[in-house]
Symmetry: C2
Subunit: 273 residues, 2 copies
């Protein structure tokens, strides 16, 4: 793809902020094809030299001026990056001056603080939530006293990745319980979940999408059969609806979006790490 | 904390972009105490009304003008948010016009695309990498043929959360192998890891920090004892050094930073999902 527009996310830290805002900006331009590259930890003159050379070379190779999303905090290195001749989107620049004026404080230029600052309390919360998600995944441990939320749904409806995301990013203790064929046959909420009703959140999914996901796991199995998927989803939705459990379809949602909606619906006020 | 400056991350999508850039900006202002709140899925006039009322109330309660980091894409709702009277940091605004000019294309105003777009191939890659991390965690499954990377280190050096982060965010298949007291006594790379030398990446940690983390798990145990931590870390570092395995200290690093450095060092060129 030699004629795609090259976009570089350049940072003196992890590059997560540059990539996040860059990705958000690019998705607003339909029909333009981009090729992206994250260059992290650009924290010395040598590294800036390399990056400038790489960006210039990309411009020559593609015949299109590259775009740089720049979150370098160190002012000298930040300024030097402009030598590369790309369209430079300097992410923090427009916001620093209004913030300085509002707060009456000058910014400090410490590098890579956003995702590199280790707060031992926050770290412990993330790790302990991650361990919780691992030990309460897929109905392994059914003691949900400590859970902030319990995701309920059929197998492969998106419960495990959502739990891990909630743990890693928000320090939320998220368990998940898979509705088994036996649970679904009984057409009622499993007895062991009843004491935790207020923590339950349902995930559902279209039978077609479920079939697609299950086929990746076990091709040509009864488990992945469209009829099985239809019957399981219908039974699960009936239980969730009857019990009035807040439920979200994961069919067209990313993990980030599902996690965001779970927090929102349950009123779990958490700051992202 | 009634006198902290309130910061609102307001979005018509998940709010992840607003929170990410907002957090990066705030960490550049040392000594100012902030209280942050993410308000996601603000996609109707009713929601905007609620949010404006909440921001105004926060300003009155704290006696300090709130700060809003605004990533609402829909132009009418975005403009309405300015009625709240806060310092408004409109995240996309400074970058859209230069991009439109460079690309010769007008932006579209589709909402919540950045983290809400479901690409089934990308989803499958994230999920299958997550399953891989779960089944190859902590030496459970020792067949590393499919691994992109294998993290090696003593127990509680940060391997599991890093593997899960790499899987969820980058679709990287990351396994982890804990160096057991037996491995450490032998003072050499475990035989089963040798065929995969090029995929190995070491995580180390200061004995003091390790003691702190292990104490959270098993207080007053031999496992958490400072002498045990010292001996294990020294032996692990000796093996990693002797074998020339790239190694990173996790003592002062966040999960994001460790993951970023692993990708960087192994030349795993991956785009964040």
């Amino acid at each position: 793809m030699p004629d795609r527009r090259m976009v570089f996310y350049v940072s003196d830290g992890t590059g997560i902020t540059a990539e996040t805002i860059g990705h958000s900006l690019l998705t607003q331009f339909n029909g333009v094809e981009f090729s992206t590259r994250r260059i992290a930890f650009v924290d010395s003159h040598e590294r800036v030299d390399q990056v400038i050379a790489e960006i210039k070379a990309a411009g020559e190779r593609t015949g299109k001026r590259p775009i740089v999303v720049n979150t370098i905090v160190e002012p000298v290195l930040n300024a030097r990056l402009f030598e590369c001749g790309a369209l430079m989107l300097d992410v923090f620049e427009p916001f620093i001056q209004p913030l300085e004026q509002e707060l009456g404080v000058k910014r400090s230029h410490r590098i890579g603080h956003a995702h590199g600052l280790v707060d031992p309390v926050a770290y412990e919360r993330r790790i302990s939530a991650t361990n919780y998600a691992l030990s309460h995944d897929d109905g392994i441990d059914l003691d949900y006293h400590e859970a902030d939320v319990i995701l309920v749904g059929v197998s492969r409806s998106g419960k495990t990745p959502t739990c891990l995301y909630l743990a890693l990013h928000y320090g939320v203790k998220a368990a998940n319980y898979p509705l088994t064929p036996e649970d679904l046959e009984r057409r009622e909420l499993p007895v062991r979940l009843r004491p935790y009703r207020s923590k339950l959140f349902g995930l559902t999914i279209s039978p077609e999408r479920l079939r697609q996901i299950r086929t990746e796991r076990r091709p040509n199995s009864r488990y992945a059969d469209l009829e099985t998927c239809r019957a399981e989803v219908a039974a699960a939705e009936a239980i969730l609806r009857h019990e009035g459990i807040p439920t979200l379809s994961t069919t067209h949602s990313s993990i980030e979006e599902i996690a965001g909606k779970v927090l929102e619906r349950l009123g779990l006020e958490r700051v992202m790490f």
